[in-house]
Symmetry: C5
Subunit: 372 residues, 5 copies
């Protein structure tokens, strides 16, 4: 009856992790064909270009040397691309396996000449399902390669900022670019939490007005979503901390100042998630209490009605008994056999007695506060 | 029916955080026009002045060099002011963004030449709503700038102390002034906790006397408020610790002694909040137990009444049956067809039997302790 | 009905903390006039003397130089005394404020020339209320000043030991004296816990025999008391640890050996409190389960009685119907209109059928185990 | 009725641990006769051979010096084998005792010349029981000995990889081989968790559609399995960390890179287990709420039916009373004795009144929302 | 009815701890007269001798110099013995007080020339009560003194091992002997946990088959026992760790290898206890769910019977009403007054209508799944 449009968690395929040979790239069965866009920029210029294959990418990077490059790869379905990247940039095969695996916890691994990081991008798709996508980054001196599973346009705010050229983004190097991408990811966590928080408020509202059976399912779905966000945000926080403490020259001191800022944001995400988890717990308790209260209401109605009318019915039953006033054979009056029935006004007095009994009970229940 | 005036949490607008470009100041849509007051003081004098715009502020600071200045800004709705402060005091744009953002966790950031700190000011407004306001501080050698979101006069105790000139406040420098402001903030936490604690006591009282359906909502609101305070106090504690451990020359050794004191207070806030959270949990359990007990009461009434009268009604029903004593056609006595009805005193004996049955049941229920 | 004499927590006035100016002593409105006793002792002698005012104290200390002094102050209601102590022993005003404040967490502060420590003294007063009193210590080379809020004689065991002169107490200096006072405080925690543990055992006993509505309140009061003890014991433990690790010459190496011993005791207090908290949780669960079980009992009685007699009453009702055997106008026999009523032994067979039906139901309920 | 094929935990025999003399090997009563397979390999060749006894093993190792050996022992029922290994490789008797004990937590012990590690292998056997088997490793420069309790072929993926010769496995030494075995173990945890996660989804589905009594047992079994996995994975994680931090030359730098990878996997296992434990808690709450809701449903039916018909039955009872209209002896009309019975249309009006009463109650219950 | 032989916790007398003067030995009121056995051994010989008093002990130790001695004291009721030990071996009085106190947490204290350690020995006595006894050790170069409260023969396995002379025990010195005693203590924890685990399994079995009211008490007793074991095992673990890290020459390097082994065992005890505590929580939830389910069952029976027969009884009641067909005075037919009663087959049709109504309801309840 109640129509909250319900946020659900998109089920994740997970089976392919188990049994892999380490260091061997295995593509997901449903991985998408990669869409590659390269943004090459300096303070003064910004070239954004769609790339078709690794050869074209190679050519583009060679041609625009001296610029900073962001290679944005959406879709992980090309083994050839992985092999090209592995060879061209000398990337460890464990890194490539992790990118293709898509079920990594957020982490930072430092390798010789580059850094590898993963994050979980959480966002609502058009069916109000929470997508849990892996985003991977390879950070090199002038190049940042980012990998997404879907074609979804989550990183659009960064593109806008690049195009606008406001702030540091155009001259602060590849580590700053990576920071802005991570910033967008964490902002997405906030958006999701606020969205879920609104749902919790609606549910609380509903509990007040009109609790129904489906509420537990809604609360539980939100709790699961909170658990999901926490599972992404906790290790993300550790990852950012690792980046701040890292002494790799790839992360500039200036970027670290900004990283401290999103570290605080990430802490806030975790704080909020914990608070909302506490809230869901209380909502579950409230729901139980409301159900029990309704039971009490129901029982009160039953008890009041039954307690009043059952004794009255008994009295009526008594005077409905057929004890004979006279012996059917002799016609003799059988003394004490229900003389009330033959008394003048017996009926009236009986009705009055019944009314009195009912009134006493009503008063008793009123005193117990059962009519409130 | 029961009229506890209920403390609620004022809903926070939160949406504007997500999607910001880092280091770009974005004013809240409903930010207030700033009210600026400057208190310039030394041991011997105190000048307090309302300031209209940044130019006047500039002039005032220039004129009263040598004094310690507290620039108290209430309302964050002027981009021009942020820009002036950024330029005049050489403040990092991330700092200005955080001041305008109003959703920061309490934290301390050390910058070259100044310290930046935020706190959460929690207080009850006139509608008994808990306001959750951000208070930001920029601490410079002789200047402390404080930023509040609203015009609310929370910091009045500090003004009074400045005017009174008692204690260290007039000669202990800007870091001591900042400490007194933080002290007021933490004192506010205490006030709020005690207020909520009183409500909890009232609720417990109510649970004893007259539990009703709304109690769960009240408990839950208090639990949420406790969660809110904890979310403010935990990072506040860390912030104070950071200040104590800081080797910045901006925080004098003397101030640190006092900071240790509010560190202890902050720990106490956290302790109290945890204790009260435990208490709310128990109250929820008590409420559930009370509801169940009331159900038992109701069921007992129903069961006693039903169990006594239903069998009696059955007996009355039996003697209300119309089995014929004589065959209607032949007039022959049909043996065994309800001779009781025609026995002398049959009615009396039946009533006595009914009374006995009822007495046995009453005794049985009494023995089971159902009348207590 | 059930008469457990109930331990309650004496409500603490708390309001005065908020809004104080730091470093300004504010006496509690209901603070008592100080009772001062000085115990001056060496290995060979013990002088104990009641002191009336600060002047007398001054004289006494001057006269008995060379001895170790324990200045035992009970009652904090004299501003003049605080000022004297502050000036005479050069005590920081934050310390004096903390002593007067009476709501400190246990802590140790090291100052130049003296140590300041607070503890929470918990004890049962004559109304079986748990008093939560602050005890403060100023430890100087040959003088220990202790402050209590009430005149209560909690520290009597130490006086007895001083008088007896057994053990180290008379020659081990002021830090050892302070240790013995702390030892008494922690022993008091134990006493209180064991007392509460006994109540828990009684409550469990009661749950077995005769659960009633008030049990939840009793359990909750004990849980609150446990929370109170834990809130005192956790920081006490930290305080003792700080004393052990302190490199202040005021705490002798020998005393530290003994402090390790009460550190272990304090850990044990915390362990016991946590265990008992677990036990209260289980008791709450048991109580809920017992209430539900009783509900089941009640429902069984209702269901058995109703299920047996309602169908029988129906049968009686059927044969109480007035369907006419003959047409009132024509006198014609209306076939099928209740010939049972005119059958010979119809009544008897009906009673037998009713008995059979009841027997079947009783058997059914017996098989379901409802009579156990 | 509902047929989820249920995963259970195979009960572990545990009694033999207690009372052992330390360092004395005691075989399990039901330990299997060892099956020994040796895989000796270098980059260019792979010899795999079934071994019958320790003499044959000795000969094999002597013959194939220069190769890397994996001695895979399945079944721990031969004291002679333990003694041979102890003597031949100079293994500490505590290590041999731990291998035979089969109830160790995962751990790493470094000894002179070799490393000893244990893991818990969890897998589903053919009866859908979770087997909890101990796997032990002795790592020496060119030899890895692995011990399993059962003949189960869990390590088959490693054998396949060895035979395929892909990746590092054939030339990266014994520590890399040990890593691949641990990788298989952790992959098994994932498989098990996903399997249990699927069951949880099915149970949730069932809760929606058709909750029944057995659900609690199913939830509890899954919770127990989660606890089991966590108990294996937490110390496994510590073990891997010990290996990464170890400075033993037995673990190559290259292997450590890979160990970091399974460290992350192990963290993920722990994360997932915690999340699923949270989910089971919610499912238990949901189940309770559903049961209560059903109770409400049942009570509503009872209350509606009873509340409507009991008052009506009372009215019928009233007009079934036998108050006499005339005195049986004098024939005089007894005024007020039930004149309604002799009024024209009295019956009709009574039925209408009954219908009206029923309609009012139906309306009342409808308004309370009891028909939804 | 159900006969699980129930394990209970033997209540501990605890009052005597509070109020002791530190360093003053106070014997328990019910302390037993000491039984002293000395085992003096070297690799080649083992002399075991009952000792009557401290003089005899002195003589024995003097006579058998060069051997390693284990002085096994059971019963702590002799002040003279404590004084002898204190003087003979130069033991600190705090140590002696702790030995006599019998309520210590497990701990290790290092003193000059000896180590002092306590453990909690938990075992089942013949009444299936869990005894919680203190075991204390004083470890000196060639002497180990162990103290037990009771005469119980818990340490018998060590005596057997000494007599057998297998393993290291006869030549590895006093620290190894102490290790073997601690090993026996921890093995006892395991035995107890497994015993309690078996009870939990029985309880779960019982919950399936035949839940009754006493189950909550049984679960709670086991939970309490688990809490007790945890309270012993956690500090025991810390103690073992302290011993491993200790640089005292009293603990040989070889013994430390073995201590690492029981450290792992102790961790396992803690793991198991936590797991079983989780299990008890689930059992409590299951029990609540089962009680609620039974309530549902009971309510269903009541509702089905009542809902079917109450309306039928009403119908019977209607046709039992005495509305008159003719005016008693005029004999005129009162139209509409219950003509059904005089219709041919009116009775039959009424019965059929009743049957139909009942069938509809049965069908309705069947559809709702209430008959399963």
């Amino acid at each position: 009856m109640s129509k909250i449009r319900r946020i659900t968690i998109k089920p994740k395929k997970y089976r392919q992790v188990a049994g892999n040979s380490p260091g061997v790239i295995e593509l997901d069965a449903d991985a998408l064909e990669p869409l590659i866009t390269v943004f090459s920029y300096s303070e003064s210029e910004l070239i954004s270009q769609e790339i078709k294959n690794s050869g074209e990418l190679d050519a583009h990077l060679a041609k625009h040397q001296g610029l900073t490059h962001w290679v944005d790869i959406r879709g992980l379905g090309s083994m050839e691309l992985f092999e090209y990247i592995g060879k061209r940039f000398n990337i460890h095969k464990l890194v490539l396996e992790d990118i293709a695996g898509t079920l990594q916890r957020p982490k930072l691994d430092e390798y010789d000449g580059y850094l590898f990081a993963t994050s979980r991008m959480l966002y609502l798709n058009d069916n109000l399902e929470i997508e849990n996508e892996q985003m991977s980054f390879i950070l090199m001196p002038d190049i940042l390669i980012s990998f997404q599973e879907n074609y979804q346009d989550c990183l659009h705010p960064v593109v806008t900022r690049l195009e606008g050229g406001k702030g540091n983004i155009r001259f602060a190097g590849s580590s700053y670019l990576m920071y802005t991408l991570m910033d967008v990811i964490i902002d997405n966590y906030f958006g999701l939490i606020y969205r879920l928080g609104d749902e919790l408020d609606m549910i609380e509202e509903l509990l007040y007005r009109k609790p129904d059976k489906s509420i537990m399912y809604k609360i539980q779905e939100i709790k699961r979503a909170m658990i999901l966000i926490r599972r992404a945000a906790w290790p993300e926080r550790d990852k950012i901390n690792d980046m701040i403490r890292s002494d790799s020259p790839l992360i500039t001191q200036d970027t670290k100042t900004f990283l401290k800022d999103i570290y605080d944001h990430c802490m806030q995400v975790v704080d909020l998630v914990e608070s909302y988890k506490d809230v869901t717990t209380t909502l579950i308790d409230m729901n139980l209490s409301i159900i029990s209260n309704r039971m009490n209401e129901i029982m009160k109605v039953l008890t009041i009605i039954s307690s009043i009318f059952i004794p009255l019915t008994f009295i009526a039953g008594v005077y409905g008994m057929n004890f004979s006033y006279t012996d059917p054979e002799t016609g003799k009056v059988l003394h004490h056999n229900m003389p009330e029935l033959y008394a003048e006004n017996g009926y009236l007095y009986t009705l009055l007695a019944m009314g009195l009994l009912a009134a006493i009970q009503v008063f008793y229940f009123y005193r117990k506060g059962w009519f409130k």
